[in-house]
Symmetry: C2
Subunit: 420 residues, 2 copies
């Protein structure tokens, strides 16, 4: 069934069979020894190619099963994940000063974020292993996503979040019945703790920067983006794909997906990737500008999902942007708030702060000439704005309170007329 050939260390290049190694390269260790899943592309190409995909009726990430590390498809949990909409956004494009702009709305996934693509694969792998419990550490979205998919599979989950994760994400965790440990500390501390606990208790580890299979789920966003873009425009791919960057796993997955679509003949080149970080937490931007090594920082931004001072998938993340001949940019919290409003009003998509950072990044990259006049951009909005409504209210203001009288309505309407 699966066309997986094995695992390869991104640092030393050593190859392993999937039975031999579970998570990371034993020689390089978990900080450096992240593994990449290798496929038999000749076999894959007979099942996924531009000539036959148009006739494929499956509208979920499982459309791409031959390119996913699943041994037993009967274990795939029920929530319908992926095949999120790609919208043309001409009014937003004018605001951002780019020629054409498309929005991939990942907030439409089952738990309302991109992370569902990874959790779906993680839960299948845990079930294939016969694991009794699954665990992860997360700024919020991977956590709530894992909780949802673990509930769907009837698999117990223990989840580590920083205590200041937004209320909505904690509500999701609790309602799905996960065991939730709110760590009095940063995401980085929650992550370390989860790694130790996973080792001590033998829980299946869903952390995307350690478990090589998770990024395989994430890459499906690019498969869909390429197929949907071609179907909307008749052209093979946008010039740029923009996405927010925290741990580096998401951008790594986006790049792997784009490369594979190129390899399978869906497009003649790989689009450039614009990696976007919050100005208050930009270790990738710094490393990319200053020659490549990672200096962990303290995070300070409203974009909680990318508030990762010590990115755990630094190598894959940096490689994605550099190998695509793309760029990194950093955007301020004010620019992120502006983007929440612009995206909702001009493209009718409500994203959370980290989710819309890509929008802010495109505006900045266009201003700086990184995105050239005439270039086309697709932006991946990674999470739904309902996950952090406080930031939305801060960005957009509160309603006008009125007495229940027509007189009160008249005076608001008259006031609008006078001002506007």
């Amino acid at each position: 069934m699966s066309h997986v050939q094995g695992l390869e260390c991104v640092t030393c290049g050593r190859g392993y069979s999937c039975r031999e190694v579970e998570y990371y390269c034993p020689v390089c260790g978990y900080e450096d020894g992240i593994l990449d899943v290798k496929y038999d592309y000749a076999a894959v190409g007979r099942e996924i190619n531009p000539a036959i995909m148009g006739a494929c009726d499956e509208r979920s990430m499982w459309r791409y099963l031959p390119l996913l590390p699943v041994e037993n498809p009967a274990l795939i949990p029920r929530p319908q994940v992926g095949w999120t909409p790609l919208y043309p956004a001409p009014r937003l494009a004018r605001e951002l000063k780019v020629a054409e702009c498309y929005i991939k709305d990942e907030g439409r996934n089952p738990t309302a974020s991109f992370k569902d693509r990874a959790s779906a694969v993680g839960v299948v792998k845990a079930l294939e292993k016969g694991a009794a419990r699954i665990t992860c550490a997360s700024t919020g979205n991977a956590a709530s996503s894992l909780a949802g998919f673990a509930a769907a599979a009837g698999l117990p989950a223990t989840i580590f979040v920083p205590r200041q994760a937004p209320e909505a994400k904690k509500a999701q965790l609790m309602i799905y019945g996960a065991q939730v440990l709110a760590v009095e500390g940063t995401y980085d501390q929650a992550w370390e703790l989860c790694m130790q606990a996973s080792a001590e208790f033998g829980w299946y580890n869903r952390n995307c920067a350690v478990n090589p299979y998770l990024i395989e789920g994430k890459k499906t966003v690019s498969f869909e983006l390429v197929e949907q873009f071609a179907s909307l425009t008749g052209r093979p791919c946008p010039d740029w794909v923009a996405v927010s960057v925290g741990d580096g796993c998401t951008v790594g997955g986006v790049w792997k997906g784009l490369r594979e679509m190129h390899r399978l003949g869906f497009m003649p080149k790989v689009p450039k990737i614009l990696g976007v970080q919050a100005a208050g937490c930009q270790p990738f931007v710094t490393a990319w500008r200053e020659g490549g090594s990672l200096c962990p920082v303290a995070a300070d931004t409203i974009a909680d999902s990318i508030a990762v001072g010590h990115p755990r998938n630094f190598r894959k993340g940096l490689r994605a942007v550099t190998a695509s001949a793309g760029a990194f940019v950093a955007v301020s919290d004010d620019e992120i708030a502006w983007s929440m409003v612009a995206l909702a009003r001009k493209a009718a998509v409500f994203g959370e702060p980290a989710g819309v950072a890509g929008v802010a990044g495109v505006k900045k990259a266009a201003e700086q000439g990184i995105i050239a006049a005439g270039e086309t951009v697709a932006i991946i909005v990674t999470g739904n704005g309902l996950k952090d409504t406080r930031s939305a209210i801060r960005a957009a203001g509160s309603p006008v309170a009125i007495e229940p009288s027509l007189e009160a309505v008249r005076s608001v309407v008259a006031g609008e007329g006078a001002h506007g």
Copy 2:
């Protein structure tokens, strides 16, 4: 294009052409003169029938365009609405003590509620009319939905909500850029005010209990449910369809959709409808039990979306349940809270309080023998739990806070072991 033949008053039976009358029957007035849209079913049946729908590639509510009152499909706004998943939920069925249970997850719509089906049609009709502004009054979901679709269409909107609407719904309204008037009063007061303002300022009226076209969007949930149920089970329809009831528009739309699917040959009978209200606001239950007339009440329930003391579509709502040979039940806030948890943990769907009232209703109806042993139930979950996370936290509890040490994890795990 459209197969609409005209409008018919649900009270006096008078017929009107669509040009003649905009909202309600001028003879019966707006409280009683709600209109029903009539179609040329012979013409519709050539485009929508069981023999050809399997080959239809459109996966949204617009799949059923020949049964919708749209004159100009070019005006359909972009957000992808409808074709939400229908999940088999065997673990939930065991909890509810019914033979088989299916969940239609309407929280997967663009603004995360069922109301998007109505707003999509409302915005098209407003654009067809050349309206300069659209308005509605809402407990929250119709409002946030209209705000999203108005943003998508670039159409200004003025929206009346009761001031105590949940934060998340107000955040959606503001981010999409609607003019929002938070009325110091109940939904009923907001509704009256909206009616007056619509008349005074000439704004297009999206209120579902007055505008005959909105319910046409809502009925599409039943079309999908029937097609998806047949595709999952090979059988034509469930015995029951359960849905929460506020104004009566939603249940009216569900019934109309089921009747039309029956008429078009998709199933040999119309399923029974279980209308579910909150015990703290049950005017339909009372009227149904006590012989038919409406006594408005004061609302007191956590299920804000169905906290409607004076249902504005009382006739269509009551007729839906009685004509289907169904039943009404009322459920307590505690039963609703229990259902939020059960639905999330057993079926991986996170619903808001009003959204899951149908789940609580099915449990109660099974206990009372209204749903018989062996009968199959589909439940429409009308809104996403992310719209009211405070209720979720109240229902499911808060995370365990721990110090960032493995020792702290060990003691939580040991504690779990001791208790569980």
